[in-house]
Homo-oligomer: 140 residues x 4
């Protein structure tokens, strides 16, 4: 679901932990939480009315330029997890999202993260975020 | 090393198992052995005098069309493993490789696999294997 | 959904392709389809009334011993895909599943695969499939 | 190599980018750089005289609790990359490492990152870093 009527903008997506995502500690390998953040922002963008796939086809990509994450507790195989993606900032050349990953059954906070993304052209050069994309995220 | 003077053509590459490649059984997650096969054939092709990266830039890719694998024993984190890639067949539109993954310390056989690859153009359509690529693999 | 009233037993699960699952050819990297097969069988087992996670906690794991796959067409980022998992065979020490991965929008067949799994104890040794597990798959 | 005679302690490891590590932007998917950081610290610890695998077998694991990364430039398939892992801090219950990932051919800086790790027991609870492990990192 997407929360559209009050600030801040956020979107939730839920799925189960895959076996392939665990490691020999018996929990999710830490970089996989960051893959889930990407699943969260893809779903957020789609819920705003544009697919990120279409956005790339139109010639604008979003590349992660900075990432911070704190790992509070571990998810395990087959756990249902929720990724809440919140719009933190829209800039002329990029977007920043915050993420909160929780365990669906217990509500326990697992990971908090933030990624700054920059808009790039097909050659990987920074470019202005198109107005059509900005409009998805900025309310008049 | 690449064995060039006798049939069949083969090439060995060695590396250590990454933590990210394990799963909660405490061993390597099975699909990662197949990623290693790709590492093996990339190294094989480079050893024959062409990089697969250059090959793609020249407009011809190799896509896996069939794959079979048998998992005999498990590799563990930080084990040194060896991937022996052997040329099985060169066809007008593809190449087949065999793989033998072993534990370097014990020589134990871990996985045997075979992949058939088809040559494709940038749009993903089957295309003839260029003569320059065939020449890498076929001895006169 | 799980088809329970007629042979053969099968189960469907659907999800969208993640960005992380693509490669520089612009399509899904081939080993990721095999990760999806694991998602399919996990969901199949849960739909039969047991979680594979519980099964492992009870001391019996299922390890892939053989795998075959044919790659017919490619999935792309954000495509909705369906994995149909079908029970192919139950043996005293293992289970074999077949998989059919299709594009949800077009119905196009993407990948067909088969995995043979052997039941193992916590030390990785082959063991008999427990009656409780067999009962999930074999109809009286 | 490991630089042992002057502060700060660091260690370099080099390898080539795998095809599986790229995404449809044609460059390395961002979380894979963080997997490489783990390869870097594993190699650092081994170079200090202990394998992290042995450390886990002795009952002490290191779990990532915080991670920050900046992505300066992209690595591509088959590029040779170097991960320089530097010891940033040793605490009673953890270790912090810094990472600098560069392109071997050009020396270009690709990614800088930092991970804080906490020492945990087999149940995942924070525990003191054993003296034998501390001794690997702290010079008398």
């Amino acid at each position: 679901m997407t929360h559209q009527d009050a600030e801040p903008l956020f979107h939730d997506v839920e799925f189960r932990v895959r076996y392939a995502e665990t490691d020999q500690m018996g929990v999710v390998y830490h970089t996989n939480y960051l893959v889930w953040c990407e699943v969260g922002r893809t779903d957020f963008i789609r819920a705003r009315g544009m697919s990120y796939a279409d956005m790339e086809r139109s010639g604008v990509g979003l590349a992660v330029s900075e990432l911070t994450a704190r790992f509070h507790a571990a998810a395990r195989y087959d756990d249902a997890v929720r990724v809440r993606t919140t719009l933190a900032e829209v800039r002329s050349r990029g977007i920043t999202f915050d993420y909160l990953i929780t365990d669906v059954a217990t509500g326990r906070r697992l990971v908090t993260a933030r990624t700054a993304l920059v808009s790039i052209d097909p050659q990987g050069r920074p470019t202005a975020l198109p107005a059509s994309v900005r409009a998805l995220f900025v309310r008049e």
